[in-house]
């Protein structure tokens, strides 16, 4: 038990942080509900005292609804809770999501190169088997963000309503047809995260091909992600789609660091665009990985240089 704990210490620490974040979201959601109830109670008192003086039809109708207890607490809606969680907490993790994955995943894998163990292994095993095992070893924490988000979905589901019809001017960034099917929404959201996580891990494998120091490999992987993101935002979004094609919004899908936003409303890109982009990113990363690892002799020579 002690050995398992020691071997997986980093991921356990970050999972515990995930629990802390989920707890924070739970309290924020409850606080929002309590605040909304207080506002409704205040509004009810105001309506009772001033209903005769209200002339606007819309305002009068709202007052009558509140006085008849015919209102819906928006903050109790699952999607409102989740959107609020994103804006208040989860959104801030977009920029470090890939970094956290690199920190927990790279350590054990990079030592195979750093300690030159790959040489002893390749005297016993086919290179293709070794590469396959290496990839699966790097992928062993690919479920990390999926698990954290599943936990957060669970927290948002506690005492929640799921009716998308009653959301008033909610500014939700998801298509209504998608929101009507909660399991499908959750499944597609998590699938998007999983695909991008595997993309990040492929970038890590590309980075560690030449960089066998753990800390430098983490930094290099993160810098590659930032570099790709800068290229996508400046060259693809702003210049190509914005200036040349005159349709900046169409370029918004080209983003690899908005892991948690899942922008699929009527005004931005849809599901097809989103999943096409992330699958193409994944395919390109596999192609680059093949180019980095197909030469066994070069890999051995690079590892032999390590002390």
């Amino acid at each position: 038990m002690k050995k398992v704990f020691r071997k997986n210490l980093l991921v356990i620490i970050f999972l515990l942080l995930g629990f802390v974040v989920a707890g924070q979201i739970f309290f924020i959601n409850n606080k929002n509900i309590t605040s909304e109830i207080k506002i409704i109670e205040k509004t009810k008192k105001y309506c009772i005292n001033n209903i005769e003086n209200i002339t606007q039809d819309e305002a009068k109708q709202s007052c009558e609804k509140i006085m008849n207890n015919d209102y819906v607490i928006q903050s109790q809606n699952f999607y409102v809770k989740f959107a609020s969680s994103y804006l208040d907490v989860i959104g801030y993790f977009n920029i470090v999501a890939s970094l956290i994955i690199f920190i927990v995943s790279i350590y054990k894998v990079v030592n195979v190169f750093k300690d030159r163990v790959v040489i002893s292994v390749l005297e016993r095993e086919k290179y293709s088997h070794f590469i396959r095992k290496l990839i699966f070893k790097m992928y062993r924490y690919c479920w990390f963000w999926v698990a954290i988000m599943l936990l957060i979905f669970g927290v948002c589901m506690i005492n929640s309503t799921f009716d998308s019809e009653t959301l008033i001017n909610s500014g939700m960034s998801w298509k209504k047809s998608l929101m009507d099917n909660v399991p499908m929404f959750i499944f597609l959201y998590l699938l998007n995260i999983l695909i991008f996580t595997i993309f990040y891990l492929n970038i890590a494998l590309i980075a560690i091909r030449k960089q066998h120091n753990y800390f430098l490999a983490v930094i290099k992987s993160f810098l590659i992600i930032i570099g790709i993101e800068i290229f996508l935002e400046i060259v693809v979004q702003s210049i190509f789609f914005g200036k040349i094609l005159g349709n900046y919004d169409a370029g918004l899908v080209f983003n690899i660091m908005n892991l948690f936003s899942f922008n699929v409303d009527e005004y931005s890109h849809g599901l097809v665009s989103l999943f096409s982009f992330n699958c193409i990113c994944l395919l390109i990363s596999y192609l680059v990985m093949y180019m980095a690892y197909h030469n066994k002799e070069k890999l051995i020579i690079d590892c032999e240089k390590n002390n």
Binding site: N111, D115, S120, E123, E125, Y127
Partner: protein, 210 residues
């Protein structure tokens, strides 16, 4: 088991390391490779293990080519240059991990190999706490633990005390009696003269029998 090296050539960045090497290795013999540092002995041994690919020529194990594309000869136990193990694991755990790949060596064989190299009492020590000689011994242990038909040892006696060197040499002679092929390289000719049936001399990319 017969290893035949035919017209082997290896170059790196237009520098010829090995040039038209033709050698034969037969069962029940210990072969020595001698030459100054940088003469190509380690490169030759890496080619035999399948770690490097020849620029031209072939290496045949019982008339079968293994050193092609990404294959490796499965009946070779080797120590090439510096021993390669996980720094934060014990000597024994490192050997167990390597043994788990082919699954031909059990715990007893691993312990027996560590006994041969006089490392049994240090088996639970973390690898990065080993001295140079102890690391070298562990490297020899991983080469012999799986009872392979071909044992390849690159400068095996570096940093090892005399008493252990004697024990290892005795063990290598025992392997020869069992009909195995043992190939070891050294820049110290006395080590090779003591146990080798044949010694090949590497110089400027060429190999001659001594």
């Amino acid at each position: 088991m017969e290893i035949v090296v035919k017209n082997l050539m290896k170059e790196f960045k237009n520098i010829i390391i090995l040039n038209d090497v033709n050698l034969k290795f037969l069962d029940g013999n210990i072969y020595g490779l001698h030459g100054r540092n940088g003469s190509g002995k380690s490169v030759f041994l890496k080619l035999l293990c399948g770690l490097y690919l020849p620029t031209s020529g072939t290496i045949l194990y019982d008339n079968k080519i293994y050193n092609f594309k990404n294959d490796f000869p499965p009946f070779v136990g080797a120590l090439i240059e510096r021993p390669s193990f996980f720094a934060d694991m014990s000597g024994y755990d490192n050997l167990k991990l390597l043994a788990s790949i082919k699954k031909v060596a059990d715990d007893n064989q691993i312990l027996e190999a560590m006994k041969v190299v006089n490392l049994l009492d240090q088996k639970d020590k973390i690898f990065n706490k080993y001295s140079l000689g102890m690391k070298q011994k562990l490297g020899i242990a991983q080469a012999i633990m799986e009872n392979q038909k071909v044992i390849i040892l690159d400068e095996p006696f570096n940093g090892i005390e005399d008493i252990s060197v004697k024990k290892i040499k005795k063990y290598l002679l025992k392997l020869k009696e069992q009909g195995k092929i043992v190939i070891l390289s050294s820049h110290i000719i006395d080590d090779l003269n003591e146990i080798c049936d044949k010694i090949y001399y590497f110089d400027n990319g060429y190999v001659v029998e001594k």
